[in-house]
Symmetry: D2
Subunit: 390 residues, 4 copies
């Protein structure tokens, strides 16, 4: 158990672009990054409205001089300071991810970016190229992957408990947007506007989360072809979908389904991952993330709990408190940020091998999410036909 005693050498000087006052996701970035002193917030360009962004930075205790009007200003000024930021987290609407990430990387700053990483695979590959040239991290905040029971799931697959993987059943299907709530709420409006959201709504916004979880749990599975049907039950959202189903054929014969929705009336998140192997299945639900169901054919189902001695030892490496006490999404995110800190430290010290085995959502995860959405949209826009994965 780590009990917050995990060590990096020093807190990484860090900033945010976006994630301003009232934003949905800004707080969890800050809370996770600063949780155990891995990062220290020293600068920001938090808001589209520069004045509001500055006021917010001051409220957060920042030096007003390091509260910037926009991303150009922050990267220019900070990269010129000897004590400038080493890393930035980008939590702005999707359409800006590519240009802001690119600018940060070109200023030599490590990037932690929200998903979906970019609008197109080409853009994502471009970021990868720059990051590799400069030995910089591009981390993507697939926050749920920080939960310990996802690690346990991956271990159970890796050690053969499930046998050969046959089925991957994924869903992330909430009901909060069953009506045209965007009419009254700008933070939802951009999500259903292709200009800001990109080529998809729920596929990019929600589905990429369980998709990444499946990649973490079943790293061997490669999609061969997929088909996707998407719908806009609130008609004004078209061409963006508020519900979609994707079927996936993997190399080697495994089969996957993914249901994503914002109109699953009455449901909370309903993010669920079920992996079916030839001998056993596992199932995980993000609303009760400290548990993992393990169902071995011919035996009674077991409910595994975070923090317990019967888990794989690696699963407990991130525990902050003993079993039975619920950890939540903030710990999952803090686990990610911890890994990002380790990677940044390793890269800055020219020792990338040190983190070669570390499991975290880096640029490949970001690319894969964008690519998958592209393939889904390509299929859906032809009427839901099978397309070879490319």
């Amino acid at each position: 158990m780590i009990n917050g005693e995990r060590q990096t050498k020093a807190a990484i000087r860090w900033a945010m672009v976006g994630g301003g006052k009232g934003s949905q996701i800004g707080y969890i970035h800050r809370s996770a990054a600063e949780r155990d002193r891995y990062f220290q917030l020293v600068a920001g360009a938090f808001d589209l409205d520069a004045a509001r962004g500055r006021a917010f930075g001051v409220e957060l205790g920042l030096d007003p001089d390091r509260c910037y009007a926009d991303y150009k200003a922050i990267f220019a000024a900070e990269s010129a300071r000897p004590d400038g930021i080493r890393a930035v987290s980008i939590a702005t609407p999707n359409n800006t991810h590519y240009e802001i990430s690119k600018a940060a990387l070109e200023a030599g700053i490590h990037v932690i970016c929200e998903k979906p990483l970019t609008f197109t695979t080409a853009e994502a590959l471009d970021l990868q190229r720059i990051a590799e040239e400069r030995n910089l991290l591009v981390g993507v905040t697939y926050g749920y992957s920080g939960y310990q029971m996802i690690e346990e799931a991956a271990r159970l697959v890796a050690d053969g408990t499930l046998g050969e993987i046959r089925l991957v059943n994924l869903q992330f299907a909430h009901g909060f947007h069953n009506e045209a709530v965007e009419d009254a709420n700008p933070a939802i409006r951009w999500r259903v506007d292709p200009k800001f959201a990109g080529p998809s709504y729920v596929l990019g916004d929600l589905a990429t989360h369980p998709l990444y979880l499946a990649e973490v749990i079943c790293p061997e599975l490669k999609i061969r072809r997929l088909m996707c049907a998407r719908q806009s039950f609130i008609a004004s959202r078209a061409p963006l979908e508020d519900n979609a189903v994707t079927l996936m054929e993997y190399e080697g014969g495994a089969f996957g389904t993914l249901w994503t929705s914002a109109v699953n009336a009455g449901a909370m998140h309903s993010q669920k991952v079920r992996i079916v192997g030839s001998k056993a299945s596992i199932e995980w639900w993000d609303e009760h993330p400290n548990q993992l169901s393990l169902e071995i054919q011919g035996e009674p189902p077991r409910l595994l709990d975070r923090g317990m001695g019967y888990l794989h030892p690696e699963t407990s490496g991130d525990d902050r408190i003993s079993g039975g006490h619920p950890e939540g999404l903030f710990e999952a995110w803090a686990n990610l940020y911890y890994r990002f800190a380790l990677v940044i430290e390793a890269l800055d010290e020219g020792a990338p091998d040190r983190v070669a085995d570390l499991r975290y959502p880096g640029i490949e995860a970001g690319i894969e999410g964008v690519r998958w959405v592209e393939n889904c949209v390509r299929s859906a826009d032809q009427g839901g036909v099978w397309v070879d994965y490319s």
Copy 2:
């Protein structure tokens, strides 16, 4: 609450073909039919092995003379008796349903047949024609539809609680056949042999159950087109599938998915029906059939329980005991058999209008199941393409 005091005029003289000793489904037919004296077992041709069938009939208390060697013998003899059977239940492997049902109808005997009703829609329509000419029932034992909470689900849809129906998510996915268990078990072997099972395994065997539940709950929905992907994870089962996913577009824009499997390792039945409307969703699970989840967007989810005063009054018409006491599958089947008895009585008295509003799985339900499997197979065999529903 009925408390078993529901009245038909007299117990209907009844027989079984199939459902012999050790068969999977024979006992529940008998237990349900005789439960409250709606039917009385007076004859049978229970087994492929005539001697074993006869011995079994005697064990059940039948007159040995009315334990027949096969279906031909029973229909010939019984239709000649003044006190001959008025109805027969057919619980034999799928390949025989058409010919035995046809023979029964031609002998003027009401038919209650297992699903899938026939191999082809043409055959099912043929049975319909004969039944209509002779004013005979063809009931199909979609047993789960007898549960009271399915009635409640239908009422909640009908009264507008859910709003407009958008999504129909169905599954029936157990794990009992995750290995080639048929090698050691003849009662499973025929299920994966096209000669006995017909054009499908799990699509016909399992999927038609939740499909019918969805028809009961959302009678207005008509499939416009569908696509189906099926797999044989146990290779020797090919061409029959042990796992399949079907996507359905309904007239009017609703969308459906159905997952069916016999290789969902570690799962029991996992028959689940979730209906998502524009305002609320309902969800039902056959392993806890006395409950129905009602999730109205913006309100906390409610768990409805059989037998309670807050349900639609019609839902309680079939209760045998007060709320809190679990009823099980036997009561669900008995509810079906009660309806079959009402229909037979009405038809025999030339008063079909009396049961015009009764909800029960008749020949249309049987046809629809066969048609749906046919469409699925047609899609799957072309590689999982969309096919217009026909």
Copy 3:
């Protein structure tokens, strides 16, 4: 799996006293007794109102001559007939159990009686004496004990899986009588009237059920002393309680608690049994009776399901259908009636040894329930003091 093929030699000629039209518990007696032809209803004195009782018997298909005005008439007439009843089930209010049971036994008729068996232990012992003299059964319908998972629980305790038993936590606490519903409902009114109900309401009506389950599961445990606190939240029910808590010290150091209530607002039955041993615990809930939780310290909890191969083989002896399909309360009761039939047959054939090992609620269970209520009331009436169990 029995599939209803379990054999007794012949259906036992059987009657009911009480359990008339609209009664709460009459139907389940009939349904269970006749389920697989172990008993055959041939006579009855169903109702306090003789005419109504007769009409009901006729409705049930009985010979009007065998529908009697009261228990005296039925025992007199039937014991005089060569084809008279061999057994009677008594489902009348509590105050009549003793006299009716006694009359039946004295007429040489086997008795199956509702709980609580009598008002006093002395009366219960009296019935025992007569029954033993005449080699007659006195069965008591602790219906829940017929569930297969209760058998599994007993086997897990017996085989040492739990280690030494330390704690017995019992509850049966519904909320249906949170208001003075008896004012409008005579079938509830007698339950809160000492004249009809006896010295207790919920202690006798509800608590004796889980108490008997604990006896079945942990047959070695003997109560050394107990204390009971009881309340009448609806004041007009006093001196009868609508809520009570009993603490029990067992010989050898185990400790028990039992909570029973009719004012547990919003709850359905909430009959739960948790047995804690030195190594593991089991927990069972009557609203989902096909499951049993097994929690071994240091291992993930397992959820056992009826009908599965991993259970003790004896557990499956009563299965009527394969695992995953819910059985309900009617099957549990039918399992009891089956045992009663076996015992009656053995006694009548002078072969009581044949059923020496059979687990069923006989006269000892009936006595024990009455004794326990007596002790509880004795404690409660002194202000909730500890009393030595006597």
Copy 4:
């Protein structure tokens, strides 16, 4: 939703006594206190072993000069500094709470102390006296009370949704100490040693938690008398108990039960609170703290979820993220520490009225816990008799 933007004027300079490296509860204190900059850790006497404590402080980033050898040193030195600590959290074994708290208060330092606050009520009252004289806080870390759904529970009781409160059912019963695990683990050993733990083990260690939750939810209930039975299933723990049951009669007629255990084999925490009113019940479980069950008699049970619009507005005041995302124990504790910061600020500014309505576990909660344990032990040691609450 607060999103971490809640404001106090400035971070309070803060230290810890105890809670050293490897301690069970030290990390959550630090994580909660510093979560949103309400407190800033500037000093510590973390460990019984001074050197280890100092090393740990340095590891946490403290000035080595402010890592002290013991509580005397820290209070002496810090109260002499102009920038000395304003508050200290005490997370040492129970036996030291009184003397360390007293020393801190006498040095003019606000105290946040672990439970149980002291060994005796007299000591606790003594702390109260000193704190009142000096206008200092004594907060007690009943961490679970920081969960939002506990606030919702209190609101539902206060607004009359439950009607008149009748029953309070509490439990905190884990299984982790079903064997003599203390033999190998010093952090458990002191808990079962009266010298360090005080007059009880599980009563003080576990039971005071749900007891305080009940006080928060039902502030009107006052215990009139109680009785307690306690056991030492691991005999070497005697006289300290590892299992206990307490019954409570409240003024006005409500009745309570509390079960606490460390030998509930196979259970995780199983901290549950059920409050039964004349109209409805609520139930909460600390392993799934984002949910609260609301069961209104005659209506289907509802499962309320944190973060949702249908809750009382005050319930959402502490939300850090929107509904559906699980918050965990760290947020609950951070909510407490936020309140402590508000109180300290108000007291230091001579404006105690500002926090007069704030719900937080202060000295009264601490006293009440100790008093309750004292009463329980008094009852238990007389053999489990009723004792008037004093």
